[in-house]
């Protein structure tokens, strides 16, 4: 009996622990700042901080983050999907070494990667470009894409593909008509996850840009540059809320795939 109550209290505690910071910050972002300072739960709300914040260039940063994210997803999938398929579907010499290599690439520190890239980009004309950042993000996301897609393909029973071969379909045909449609939901989740990695990434984005910042880089840079140009509170709340939004949407979509997918990839 007591155990039941403790369980429910525990569950409630967990929910509050996670949701309170998110809910309160979102609430605060819409509140009149003086009212916010005065009360625990503000009474008057406004959208003007968002308006001002957007005009300050945040809207541009937001758009940039989206663009970088999309390019990253495209590139990581172009490179990573075939690799994931090969690893997930076929047993070939060196496959296990390759798997280990992928894991090694995953833990490679971004900090080590970013500075040399920045220097190289300058001579290549890629510095402070969206493509440059996307290339770095792709390098970060690639191991995840390979691991996740390989486990998606492993989960599709080989019989289904073999049936296609028996009935006369070529390899590519089987892939496009049988494998891909079955893998589609998982791949969609993987794509969103990749977008999220790019959306959230801050180290490479900061080092590789100067004026054309993504959203996290824009939020971080005053702290880095240390000009004391720290964001005023209302903008902090707005920034946080904007940054979290895709995360929440993503989590709502993948609710089903959650444990299986991340168990496989062992997320950051």
């Amino acid at each position: 009996m007591i155990k039941r109550w403790l369980t429910y209290i525990g569950a409630l505690a967990i929910a509050v622990w996670i949701l309170l910071p998110i809910a309160y910050t979102t609430l605060a972002s819409f509140a009149e700042i003086r009212d916010y300072y005065a009360r625990v739960i503000p009474r008057s709300y406004t959208l003007r901080y968002y308006e001002e914040y957007f005009r300050l260039g945040v809207l541009d940063a937001l758009v940039r983050s989206v663009q970088v994210g999309l390019i990253t997803v495209a590139l990581s999938f172009i490179f990573g999907l075939p690799a994931g398929y090969a690893i997930g579907r076929w047993a070939f010499k060196g496959r296990d070494t390759l798997r280990m290599a992928v894991i090694f690439f995953r833990v490679f520190p971004v900090a080590v990667m970013a500075v040399p890239l920045a220097v190289t980009y300058i001579s290549l004309g890629l510095y402070d470009t969206l493509l440059g950042i996307a290339l770095a993000h792709t390098a970060i996301a690639l191991p995840f894409v390979i691991l996740i897609t390989s486990s998606i393909f492993i989960s599709i029973p080989k019989d289904l593909e073999e049936a296609g071969h028996v009935f006369g379909m070529s390899g590519l045909h089987v892939f496009l008509r049988i494998t891909l449609p079955l893998a589609a939901p998982g791949l969609a989740a993987a794509a969103m996850f990749t977008f999220l990695i790019s959306w959230n990434e801050v180290v490479a984005a900061t080092i590789l840009s100067y004026v054309n910042r993504t959203l996290p880089a824009m939020v971080l840079s005053p702290y880095v540059i240390g000009t004391g140009g720290e964001l005023p509170d209302p903008y902090k709340f707005a920034a946080a809320t904007i940054m979290i939004l895709p995360a929440l949407l993503f989590m709502a979509y993948v609710r089903r795939y959650l444990i299986t997918m991340w168990g496989a990839a062992g997320v950051r």
Binding site: F79, A83, V112, V115, L117, L142, N200, T206, A240
Partner: protein, 278 residues
């Protein structure tokens, strides 16, 4: 088998491999070069710099606080969620929401919670428990800032450890636990003699991943710690973006890489399971 069939896997994998090697091999060579070259190698400058001691100390403190806490919380959360109760799936889902939240966003969230006009202070003052705010940020409150940073990381990243451990826990055959029940083990005995040993591979994976990534966080440090808390990773960003010194930044990057390698190797050595799992 035709040549094409045999070569197919390698052809499919090759582009990614090349891409990854370019983006890891080249930078690695570069930072090593930049850090160690010249009459006055940047690496020496960093090793003898006064900032190193502080950065190393703070890195150690943060990592040493966050990792054990996350591991313990993840294990207990996994056991907690094994139970079946109404609303369990919803709470589980809520618990893993932070998986998708970035370090910068998480830092801002906890700023909202802990700042002098933040939720905690306002709520406590409203109830009357305190009359002046508890300050978490600011040079003279460095210890508390560290606490805030640790708290933020625990909030954000415990779910990562949890997902790995939970998956591992579900793979433990239920009958091993039932046999433990029948043969007299209490909850703590079950934990110690059956659950933890069988979780060892998952724990190892989680520790390696978590530690290596904990070494790389910069968001909470910058956002909450501002100028007075620094770790190895933030130094890389600072020296490049602020001080415009690629050589020194590279040297710091080498340090980050070295510590990463050392800790990774240490974990793998220490935690290799002796008896074999099924």
């Amino acid at each position: 088998m035709s040549f094409l069939r045999r070569a197919a896997p390698y052809l499919l994998v090759l582009p990614s491999l090349v891409y990854a090697l370019v983006f890891t091999g080249y930078p690695l060579a570069y930072v090593l070069g930049m850090a160690f070259s010249g009459r006055n190698p940047a690496i020496l400058e960093v090793i003898f710099s006064p900032r190193l001691g502080e950065a190393a100390l703070f890195t150690a403190v943060i990592v040493a606080s966050v990792i054990p806490a996350q591991l313990a919380l993840a294990i207990f959360a996994s056991l907690f969620f094994l139970q079946n109760f109404r609303g369990r799936d919803l709470v589980l889902y809520i618990f893993v929401i932070p998986l998708a939240v970035s370090e910068v966003a998480a830092a801002l969230l906890w700023y909202t919670m802990l700042s002098s006009s933040g939720f905690l202070n306002k709520a406590l003052m409203r109830i009357g428990l305190i009359s002046r705010p508890i300050y978490f940020f600011g040079y003279q409150f460095r210890d508390r800032t560290l606490l805030a940073i640790v708290l933020t990381e625990i909030w954000r990243a415990t779910a990562i450890v949890f997902v790995i451990i939970y998956a591992g826990l579900q793979m433990i055959n239920r009958e091993y636990l039932e046999a433990a029940d029948v043969f007299g083990m209490s909850f703590w005995q079950k934990l110690r003699y059956v659950i933890l040993p069988l979780l060892k591979p998952s724990i190892q994976t989680a520790l390696v991943i978590r530690t290596l990534f904990a070494l790389q966080i910069v968001g909470p440090i910058f956002v909450l710690g501002g100028e007075y808390i620094r770790v190895l990773a933030t130094e890389v960003v600072y020296w490049y973006s602020m001080r415009l010194n690629p050589a020194v930044a590279s040297a710091w990057a080498v340090l980050v890489g070295a510590v990463t390698l050392a800790l990774g190797g240490l974990y793998i050595k220490l935690l290799s399971p002796k008896g074999v799992m099924q």
